[in-house]
């Protein structure tokens, strides 16, 4: 059975109301239906403006594939890889095949299923196939040497034997080393003995996003084996965290995102945020942390505890927050689209009159920084771990 066929019920659940295309957020979030500058909850549709880039249109295409009105041509295949898989459409969708009154159709899952079918049929775009090969060879999506994975940690005091592992993830290991270092400093200052694994591989999510489900499973199996000696694993990357929670079956250890971890430590008095950070910031909810794992409050509680820091919410926010544009493999395959979306996101941030965006994801930070460079908008982008480490004096 094709992977898409398993989602047949979801596909036919859509009754084409168009909320996923033209509505930003329900009234419950405040008095604004439609913040300036964006038209709906789907960033890709906001840029591209044709129906086939919206969840509604994508589900119609899926229906067309199921009913054999359409086939996977190169153009169609490429379009399927433009979805950020951010899940915003699911939040605004009022249809739900399994649970009336709860979250809507899982359109990202439908898209991922189509990508699996595309890969199995040997129809994946060349860049996708090359990316997957690259990950298989280098164990990361950046083409960097696997031997350099924990190069960022060489100057830090990290023990070999501990109950806790810090799963760094490819983005923090290679691109956003400051996040890896900040996280390590937080853990160390909090008195947590932890290890970082040389044998850590990519969590597998980039492969899942591209449709290489079987190959992703090899990475999953390896990481489980490598981490099995630990009681607890902490993540600074929400993508890795969510992948472990959703795709790794029967984890032999506890898992936590650094925001949950730090929030609990603050609550228990184990961490004191004593140094002021005099900034006016707005928080960007990473898709994999917010919509993906339901973690909205922990980062906000942390930010509220940092002296002198002023937090203002941008609109839309929380479960309706706009994706930064980096998800679903779009950053790698469609960099211009990704930056365009991130630039629009920055305009939403600007409306708050904050001078900085804080997020809790290395991919979000990277893409927003790229947008700052592209647009020359005067904005700082921080990861929450950086502000926490600063406030801890770590």
């Amino acid at each position: 059975m094709s992977s898409l066929r398993k989602y047949q019920k979801d596909v036919y659940q859509c009754f084409r109301c168009g909320y996923c295309r033209d509505v930003v957020a329900p009234r419950t979030l405040g008095s604004i239906f439609s913040p300036l500058g964006i038209n709906g909850i789907c960033p890709v549709y906001d840029v591209k403006r044709f129906d086939h880039y919206s969840a509604r249109g994508r589900l119609q295409i899926a229906r067309g594939i199921l009913e054999e009105h359409l086939e996977y041509t190169p153009s169609l295949t490429e379009t399927i890889y433009t979805c950020l898989c951010c899940g915003a459409c699911r939040e605004i969708c009022l249809a739900d095949p399994n649970n009336p009154g709860r979250r809507g159709i899982n359109t990202p899952a439908v898209l991922l299923a189509m990508r699996e079918d595309i890969v199995k049929a040997g129809l994946a775009p060349r860049t996708i196939v090359e990316s997957a090969s690259n990950i298989k060879e280098n164990l990361n999506p950046y083409g960097e040497s696997k031997d350099d994975r924990i190069k960022w940690a060489r100057e830090l005091d990290i023990v070999k034997k501990a109950d806790t592992a810090f799963f760094v993830g490819c983005a923090s290991a290679y691109k956003r080393k400051e996040i890896g270092r900040s996280t390590a400093k937080i853990l160390a200052k909090a008195g947590v003995k932890f290890s970082v694994l040389e044998e850590e591989w990519c969590c597998g999510l980039p492969l899942i996003d591209m449709g290489f489900r079987d190959l992703a499973q090899e990475f999953i199996n390896h990481n489980i084996e490598a981490l099995s000696r630990f009681n607890r694993v902490v993540f600074s990357c929400p993508e890795c965290y969510r992948t472990f929670k959703n795709y790794y079956k029967q984890l032999p250890f506890q898992v936590a995102h650094i925001t949950e971890f730090v929030s609990d430590l603050i609550e228990g008095g184990d961490i004191k945020l004593s140094k002021g950070v005099d900034k006016k910031v707005t928080y960007h909810d990473p898709c994999h942390l917010g919509r993906g794992m339901g973690i909205y409050d922990a980062p906000r509680k942390i930010l509220a505890k940092i002296p002198e820091l002023q937090l203002v919410e941008m609109l839309p926010t929380r479960q309706y927050a706009w994706c930064c544009g980096a998800g679903g493999g779009v950053k790698a395959m469609f960099p211009d689209l990704s930056i365009n979306i991130a630039s629009r996101k920055l305009r939403l941030a600007q409306e708050t009159c904050a001078t900085a965006v804080v997020s809790a994801c290395p991919h979000c930070k990277t893409n927003l920084l790229d947008a700052v460079e592209e647009t020359r908008i005067d904005f700082n982008i921080y990861d929450i771990t950086e502000l926490v480490a600063k406030s801890m004096g770590a």
């Binding site: 168009g18 509505v23 419950t28 439609s34 403006r49 044709f50 379009t79 249809a95 009336p100």
Partner: protein, 480 residues
């Protein structure tokens, strides 16, 4: 798509290549609205062969001139969230996707009207108006914030708060329309080239009216001016249950006639009552819920007292404000969508005088539902009941929209076919009963047209021939 569409280059020259696509999947993605009027069930419609997104009225005009010259059919679409099957072409051709023409042009406080482009969604319009303390009369169709003004006018919708403000046509002050030959006209006060203020019944014949409910067959609406009002400061939410259909209906009828309510709904039968008012007891066979709005608290309360007196006189029992609040849910018609969200649905709707709807109601419900009982999914809230709802929503002071929504497993092609055929039969039956239909796309074109007198039909044909002799705009709709 094996080759570029023959008009691709010219259309790209008009709107820019980023606003036109002839990819087959892109055309397929535009197919359908919330009805079942789409392939393979429907042989009446087919995907467009090219999709164009005009950015302004000049581009719409140039596209129509091109279409006339090349005899290419043109279908107009807004949000594609209607229930009439009007946005999917009958003959392929060009799909004009109006969603980029979405600006709120002006809030005219002298005229007390707002002017917006036809592709503006209700959510965008309402946001702009609320910032200034205003609202339109009807607030959009039930359940679809994504719907557009142009689509609403072309359909001639009723909507949220129609009980007080009537159908959308009663709220239109002026239109801008591009005729099939590419000429642009403005109706109402703006037919005077020197006039910017917005008013309908002035300067000669009411040309605005011919375009309302016309489904785009006489011209493409590009701007809509709607009346606006201050946002009421006081709202009363009221709901009552009754142990019979008749009592609930008589109460709703009399309350509707007062003209005090902004919006309302009557839920009929255990299925619908359970969805809308779970707090109502087992013996509740009907529930009415309504809102009363005013800028004066005394007036709101006095009107509520009158309506409450009517309900209690029919042995209604007070359910408190929550049922009405849920049904209204900040005026986005969420309840409707929850009904539809269990599975695919087919909705039978039609307008009828309220005091006629109650006649033989129970027999009619049984007659209409019976053929489908074995095919409906089970109600998630009441697994002993099939999933359907039966309700009525006032469309003014004396008319009610009679709505049965049947929910089935849309992934089953046999059921889709069955329900599609049933739709057609029901609309024929409905028209024969004298009901008024307003979702006039391909879904019920035949039924409504068959009910026209020959003279009326010929009149519409003559108008069509006069404005669109080559029959390129929305061909097939209204069988013109």
């Amino acid at each position: 798509m094996s080759r570029p569409h023959p008009l691709y280059t010219e259309l790209a020259g008009i709107v820019g290549s980023e606003h036109v696509t002839d990819e087959d999947f892109a055309c397929w993605a535009t197919v359908g609205d919330i009805s079942l009027e789409m392939p393979p069930e429907s042989a009446l419609v087919q995907p467009p062969t090219i999709v164009v997104r005009p950015q302004n009225v000049e581009q719409v005009s140039r596209i129509l001139k091109l279409a006339q010259r090349t005899r290419t059919p043109v279908t107009v679409a807004g949000a594609k969230s209607g229930a009439g099957g009007a946005n999917t072409p009958t003959q392929g051709g060009i799909l004009l996707d109006m969603l980029d023409m979405d600006k709120v042009m002006e809030i005219d406080e002298d005229s007390m009207a707002v002017l917006a482009q036809a592709g503006c969604t209700w959510s965008k319009l309402r946001t702009a108006l609320e910032k200034k303390g205003y609202r339109t009369g009807i607030l959009g169709p039930h359940g679809c914030l994504s719907a557009t003004l142009g689509g609403g006018v072309a359909y001639g919708i009723f909507g949220i708060d129609s009980a007080k403000y009537g159908m959308i046509g009663e709220q239109v002050a002026s239109l801008e329309v591009v005729l099939p030959n590419g000429d642009t006209i403005r109706t109402g006060s703006r037919c005077n080239r020197n006039t910017k203020w917005l008013f309908r019944y002035i300067n000669g014949p009411d040309a605005t009216g011919i375009f309302i409910g016309s489904q785009g067959v006489f011209g493409i609406i590009t701007e809509v001016a709607l009346k606006i009002y201050p946002i009421p400061q006081y709202v009363e939410f009221c709901s009552y249950w009754f142990d019979s259909y008749e009592a609930g209906f008589v109460a709703m009828y009399k309350i509707q006639q007062t003209g005090y309510i902004s919006d309302g709904i009557i839920a009929l039968g255990r299925n619908t009552v359970q969805i809308m008012a779970h707090e109502a007891p087992e013996k509740a066979l009907s529930v009415i819920a309504f809102t009363i709005e005013s800028n004066d608290e005394r007036i709101a309360k006095a009107q509520k007292d009158v309506c409450e007196g009517i309900a209690l006189k029919e042995n209604g029992k007070d359910l408190g404000p929550e049922v009405a609040k849920r049904a209204a849910y900040d005026k986005i018609g969420k309840m409707y969508r929850i009904e539809m969200s269990w599975g695919a649905s087919t909705a039978w709707l039609g307008a009828i005088p309220t005091n006629e709807m109650i006649m033989h109601l129970e027999e009619r419900i049984k007659e209409d539902i019976k053929p489908y009982e074995g095919m409906l999914i089970k109600s998630p809230r009441r697994p002993d009941l099939p999933a359907y709802t039966y309700s009525g929503i006032p469309m003014g002071q004396t008319i009610i929209n009679d709505s049965i929504i049947l929910v089935f497993d849309g992934a089953n092609p046999l059921l889709r076919r069955k329900f599609y055929d049933a739709d057609k039969e029901w609309f024929e039956r409905s028209c024969n009963r004298g009901r008024g239909l307003y979702w006039i796309g391909m879904r019920c074109t035949s039924a409504i047209v068959n009910s026209y007198s020959p003279q009326y039909r010929e009149f519409l044909r003559n108008v069509k021939r006069a404005v669109d002799p080559n029959m390129i705009l929305n061909p097939g709709v209204l069988e013109l």
